[in-house]
């Protein structure tokens, strides 16, 4: 029984294999943007070789694959989604663009100098269906099929790649919307990705529902095409296990289900990173963590406060409202592949453009001529040219040098000076992003530990901590495969919800139970489809509740089946208490409403992750000494001791300046830090 976690980032595809004893092995390959499944399979081939198996028998022995990908997010942020047609209720085609009056969401009210919103579906592709459902669910006007057909004709003419069907009040009764979606699917065939708002987010509030649905349609074709191809190739190679996708909400779910709800793959990948941070933070008993993940293309931050991974239904991705539940992470274009360039004012800038995997940094020798952060790190001596990905990619320092020289000449800067400037600029950009999420929200970063992941992260982690004044840096053993590691620590499962709007004093306990019965059956069916036993499921029931008249709910856990008025009383008490905890007051005299029932179904026991502990050693790391290399720290070139990460033992202590060469990353320990190796194999850097 083998478990595999694969995280396809912008530059690298990370693969972590867990064998039947819980041992982990790591593999990396370059991401192949034209067909991401290639890099995916290359990783598996490497793993097969390492396990001494041919690819078919290796893949055949895999029990489950957990998969995260930045594809959905990238498609949205880089505007490479499909041309979408929107079919919507006659009279309301502008709801998407009016967007409830929200300006660019990250703009202060005092800033009017912002460009107008550019909708994902322009007005000429927002077409009208004659139909009307009322808020009660009553169908006032049945769907006029002709109006749908007229729209489809236009969609076909315009060659849209996806259609979003978005009708008013479809959460209350999806009949019209369902029918329209059916017609679209029948007419447009498999080439066009069709999705309907009740399938994506069946709750009231058309702007939020429509926007989320349109985002899902926009990225649907790309995501869908990829997943179909991937599943096909895996099954050709004899894969019999489950392909599970990391979802925005921090749960893991079957590939087929995710394909139909493409929007749930926004942030897939990065959504796993906080789980990794919390796992390692837990080993060190730290509850306040800043998780940073620096790969080749992007830098993701999330803040874990008091051990809680924050989720929200109030996300904006780029300039789009995405109202499904999501793990809160923030991302900027900063990574090892970020390009250094000179702007119109003659200033040196780094990112957000990235050389990605192809052509990659100049030192890869794959045709990249522009200098990147990785090239700077090579020139500074931080990254070994002969041990990048364990020596798999030989780096050409001369190419780095000439790329940086070309850029530095007009600035009248030396090569090393320019390399250091690139290093410092990217660190400041990343530190600013952390401030955005911590200091600017009133958290004092000095109360946090910085958990650093991503292939490029450990080269920069201590420098970022120094800029921020964070006292402690944790670099996990598998930091280079940070999100992939997090996937092993995530729960498999899904949340199921049903509307049940009723005042607490009119609550019908039988109806409540039968609704939960329905959700439970659905959860069991889904899990069985993915091969798990129903008895392994952990079911947690919650209700979204509010005081009568309020517009927003609080989630209250339900203790299983409610059998008596006393049970209801207990739930109400919990609601009042939670309201008071969150908002400083309660309104006990006011009546309480139930709004939505949720069932969170997760697999029990399957995900206990135990690391094989590292052998113990003394403080002296001498046995792991590998060589010395000249590195530039501050203004000095220092003959810096380099250690072999694979030979370090728990308890080893390394004073900066020093370098640890791991197979998949390099840890830079500046002068001001002391590093200890803990028994999980993590590096703990503290300011001296």
């Amino acid at each position: 029984m083998i478990g595999v976690a694969i995280d396809v980032g912008g530059t690298f595809t990370d693969c972590l294999v867990m064998d039947s004893k819980g041992g982990l092995s790591q593999f990396k390959a370059l991401t192949t943007p034209e067909d991401r499944s290639k890099g995916f399979l290359e990783c598996l081939e490497k793993a097969a070789r390492a396990f001494g198996k041919d690819i078919r028998s290796f893949i055949g022995s895999i029990d489950s694959i957990f998969h995260g990908t930045t594809m959905a997010t990238n498609a949205l942020l880089t505007e490479r989604g499909a041309k979408v047609g929107m079919l919507t209720t006659d009279g309301f085609r502008d709801e998407l663009e009016i967007r409830r009056g929200f300006k660019n969401i990250r703009t202060s009210m005092y800033n009017l100098l912002v460009p107008p919103y550019k909708p994902l579906v322009e007005r000429y592709l927002r077409l009208l269906a004659r139909e009307r459902t009322l808020y009660t669910g009553e169908i006032e006007t049945a769907l006029d099929v002709q109006s749908v057909e007229a729209a489809l004709e236009k969609f076909a003419q315009e060659k849209v790649g996806a259609v979003a069907v978005c009708f008013l009040h479809s959460y209350a009764n999806p009949e019209n919307e369902k029918k329209a979606a059916q017609i679209c699917r029948a007419r447009l065939g498999n080439d066009v990705y069709v999705t309907a708002s009740h399938e994506i987010l069946p709750v009231s509030g058309e702007y939020e529902r429509f926007s989320t649905t349109v985002v899902s349609a926009y990225i649907g074709p790309i995501v869908s095409e990829y997943m179909v191809a991937l599943q096909k190739r895996l099954s050709e190679l004899g894969f019999k296990g489950n392909l599970m996708m990391v979802r925005s909400d921090g749960l893991v779910q079957s590939a087929e289900h995710s394909r139909r709800q493409a929007v749930t793959l926004i942030n897939s990948g990065p959504a796993a990173a906080p789980t990794a941070a919390r796992f390692y933070g837990g080993l060190l008993r730290r509850k306040n963590l800043i998780s940073v993940d620096m790969g080749g293309t992007s830098f993701d931050v999330s803040l874990i406060y008091k051990d809680e991974i924050p989720t929200t239904t109030e996300s904006w991705v780029g300039d789009e409202r995405v109202a499904i539940k999501m793990v809160e992470t923030h991302s900027i274009g900063a990574g090892g592949g970020s390009l250094a360039w000179i702007d119109s004012l003659g200033l040196l800038r780094v990112g957000p453009q990235s050389a990605g995997a192809d052509p990659g940094p100049a030192c890869y020798g794959r045709g990249g001529e522009l200098p990147t952060v990785t090239d700077a790190n090579v020139l500074l001596g931080y990254i070994p040219t002969d041990y990048f990905l364990g020596g798999e990619i030989a780096l050409d320092a001369e190419r780095s040098r000439s790329a940086i020289r070309k850029m530095a000449e007009p600035l009248k800067m030396g090569e090393s000076e320019a390399a250091q400037a690139i290093y410092n600029i990217i660190n400041s950009l990343m530190a600013d992003q952390v401030i955005e999420l911590s200091t600017k929200r009133g958290y004092d970063v000095r109360d946090f530990a910085l958990v650093v992941g991503g292939g490029a992260g450990p080269v920069h982690g201590a420098a970022i901590a120094e800029l921020l004044g964070v006292p402690e840096v944790v670099i996990p053993k598998y930091s280079a495969l940070y999100s992939a590691f997090g996937m092993f620590a995530m729960d498999i499962g899904r949340e199921y919800t049903h509307n049940y709007m009723v005042r607490a004093d009119k609550l019908d306990l039988d109806r409540l139970e039968s609704l939960f019965g329905g959700l439970t059956a659905q959860a069991q069916a889904d899990l069985e489809e993915s091969g798990a036993k129903a008895s392994d499921l952990v079911m947690n029931r919650t209700a979204q509740m509010r005081y009568a008249g309020q517009f927003h709910e609080i989630e209250v856990p339900l203790p299983g089946r409610l059998e008596s008025a006393k049970d209801v009383e207990r739930v109400l008490k919990a609601f009042h208490a939670r309201h008071k905890e969150l908002y400083t007051f309660d309104l006990r005299e006011r009546s309480v409403e139930f709004r939505t029932l949720s069932l969170r179904a997760t697999l029990k026991g399957a995900r206990t992750l135990k690391l094989v502990p590292l052998a113990r050693g003394g403080a002296d790391a001498g046995t792991a000494f590998k060589r010395k290399r000249r590195c530039l720290f501050g203004k000095k070139w220092i003959d810096t001791p380099c250690y072999d990460g694979a030979r370090l033992a728990a308890g080893n202590l390394i004073r900066g300046p020093a370098i640890v060469e791991e197979e998949a990353t390099t840890i830079v320990i500046p002068e001001a830090f002391v590093c200890t190796v803990d028994k999980a194999g993590s590096y703990l850097l503290k300011r001296r």
Partner: protein, 608 residues
């Protein structure tokens, strides 16, 4: 390369976290850059959290979903500390309320007290429906902060339900007036006072729930401020605030010093004062830049009016300050405080519509003249700083509908923000499409159609953009709207006081067109179509429809200089401009058959 730490002004503080702090033990003694930044941003975050708490817990549609809410923090002397989010008219100048309460209750203010003010003349609120709860925050015995949570409540006990009835006799016809009165003393509710207040409003149970939400927000703010003080020490927090205010002042002074000295003029009228109908009332504004100071002078504005459009000085101050701030350096947007205000004087002589004498009514102040004050400042500032020019927005065209809901058998009040057009253009960009109501600077949200249908006995027939409704320009305004709703309930009243712009318009800039006319009709079930003008009270019956067609925002720059490709997109992609307008106004000829720009004819039309 060392990260930038600019010496001049507050800009450098946007990024102060980049220097290593001193050892932890010395944190109490002095404010290192990281502590300064954390304290500064904590103030902003507390405000945002307050506003969010009110949104999450209130039961009024206007408050929870449309966010008619403002919050802020002032220091123990009533100087502004943090005002990051709200509706300008409600809070930017709320220091006047704080100072009023401090004077009125001098020596008698205690930890755990909460004061309520909604009287435009005493304790200050722009109009009576905006209830503000003020909580003093103590450190030991010392009063160190004030927090405010203010929102527009569903009813304030005036002659009619809702708000914005345009022809009141005086301020007393506009609701119960609470002049900065203690409603909670040392944590204990003043039962007698509250009973008296709630006995004088309709929908009292709901208003009370929303009052609890506001009070809860001030409690939360007090807790957060205590945490902050506990962590860094009062001395450090004091010093951080002093530094924040001083740096902001320096930066704003430097910015004003960079503007060309001179006097810049702006004006704006509303259709009428609600009492004397169809006679416009006008704000005239002179912005004088001289060295490091700026003066906004409204002395030439009209006399105070008989109707409901009058403003108090704090109202005028709040809006004028907001209007100036949006033209300052965008790098400062997160930081405005008393330091900003020290550089800008607002002159509004008593007896004018910008500083009316008791008992003039003020129910319309947030929209008319509040919006007009803002428009006049924007117009003058656009002249002072052409590269930040901002045209007027689609004018507010709201309504308050009240009646008995057949669903609940109780009174309902159905507020607006449905149909007013989008933002005006700014130099460099077309106007934002969705933003509603310049007086809120876009902080108000528009309602979801579904939510309204769930809550009120009205069915929405349609809502969407109107073609050719934007003020044209090189950069055009966001479009206006068409909005149509049908009454499913019984007889209902419709106040149109929260609107303007049928006969008066907001400015365009640099040759861009001003806003156009708003229009509203009541269409009877019989088909009869009646004009429903602003600043009046109308009546509707079951089956009647309300139909609004509104103007979008104004334009910046001459329309014939607009990029022809953008005009083409406006016609065929954004579908908000007709071929005729493209030709007649934008001087772009498009061949209808091929749908392509006829460049030769376009050049001829544009004389180039």
């Amino acid at each position: 390369m060392k990260p930038k730490s600019k010496k001049s002004g507050a800009r450098g503080t946007a990024n102060p976290g980049v220097k290593p702090p001193p050892k932890r033990s010395s944190r109490r003694a002095e404010a290192d850059p990281l502590t300064l930044s954390t304290v500064w941003h904590s103030m902003q975050r507390i405000c945002r959290e307050m506003r969010r708490l009110i949104e999450r817990t209130s039961q009024s549609y206007l408050i929870s979903e449309l966010k008619d809410i403002s919050v802020g923090i002032w220091d123990g002397e009533g100087n502004t500390v943090a005002i990051p989010v709200g509706l300008p008219v409600q809070f930017i100048g709320a220091k006047y309320s704080v100072r009023y309460i401090m004077k009125e209750y001098a020596g008698d203010i205690h930890p755990g007290d909460v004061f309520l003010a909604n009287d435009p003349y005493k304790g200050y609120s722009c109009h009576p429906p905006d209830w503000g709860f003020f909580r003093p925050v103590f450190h030991g015995k010392r009063l160190v902060f004030w927090t405010l949570a203010r929102a527009h409540v569903e009813d304030t006990g005036a002659a009619f339900p809702g708000a914005y009835f345009s022809d009141p006799y005086d301020i007393h016809s506009e609701g119960i007036l609470v002049p900065g009165v203690r409603v909670i003393e040392r944590g204990r509710e003043m039962r007698d006072v509250l009973r008296l207040i709630y006995n004088n409003v309709r929908l009292a149970e709901g208003v009370r729930a929303d009052a609890n939400a506001m009070i809860g927000a001030t409690t939360m703010a007090e807790n957060r401020l205590h945490e902050l003080i506990g962590k860094y020490g009062m001395e450090t927090v004091d010093r951080c605030i002093a530094v924040m205010q001083a740096r902001t002042e320096r930066a704003v002074r430097a910015y004003i010093a960079g503007l060309p000295d001179g006097t810049y003029y702006g004006e704006s009228s509303t259709d009428d004062d609600g009492a004397e109908l169809d006679v416009p009332v006008t704000i005239r504004c002179e912005v004088t830049v001289k060295g490091e100071r700026m003066t906004i002078d409204f002395s030439k504005s009209d006399k105070q009016a008989k109707g409901f459009v009058n403003c108090s000085y704090p109202t005028t101050y709040s809006v004028a300050m907001g209007g100036a701030i949006i033209f300052l350096d965008p790098a400062l947007v997160e930081y405005h405080n008393e330091g900003t205000m020290k550089c800008i004087d607002v002159i509004a002589p008593e007896g004018l519509v910008v500083n009316a004498k008791y008992p003039a009514p003020m129910g319309g102040a947030p929209v008319s003249m509040g919006h007009n004050i803002l428009e006049s400042v924007m117009m003058a500032m656009s002249a002072a700083i052409p590269a930040r020019a901002a045209a007027g927005w689609g004018r507010r065209y709201g309504q308050y509908i009240y009646g008995i809901s057949p669903r609940t058998k109780g009174l309902y009040v159905f507020p607006g923000y449905h149909a007013e057009g989008g933002a005006g253009a700014v130099y460099g960009y077309d106007g934002y499409q969705g933003s509603a109501s310049v007086g809120t600077l876009g902080e108000i949200s528009r309602p979801n159609t579904e939510d309204c249908e769930i809550k009120y006995p009205w069915k929405f027939v349609s809502r969407g953009f109107r073609k050719d409704s934007s003020g044209a320009g090189k950069w055009r305004g966001g479009p206006g709207f068409h909005w149509e709703v049908e009454n499913l309930g019984g007889d209902a009243g419709v106040h149109t006081g929260a609107g303007q712009g049928e006969t008066t318009f907001s400015h365009g800039c640099q040759g861009g067109k001003p806003t156009g006319a708003n229009q509203c009709f009541i269409v009877r079930a019989s088909g009869e179509r009646m004009r429903a003008q602003v600043h009046r009270l109308h009546h509707v019956q079951h089956g009647d429809r309300i139909v609004k067609d509104t103007s979008g925002g104004g334009g910046v720059g001459p329309p014939e200089e607009r990029d022809p490709q953008e005009v083409w997109k406006d016609v065929y992609v954004r579908e908000i401009v007709t071929l005729e307008t493209a030709r007649e106004v934008y001087k772009v000829a498009i061949d209808q058959a091929t749908r392509e720009i006829d460049w030769n004819r376009t050049r001829a039309l544009r004389n180039v």
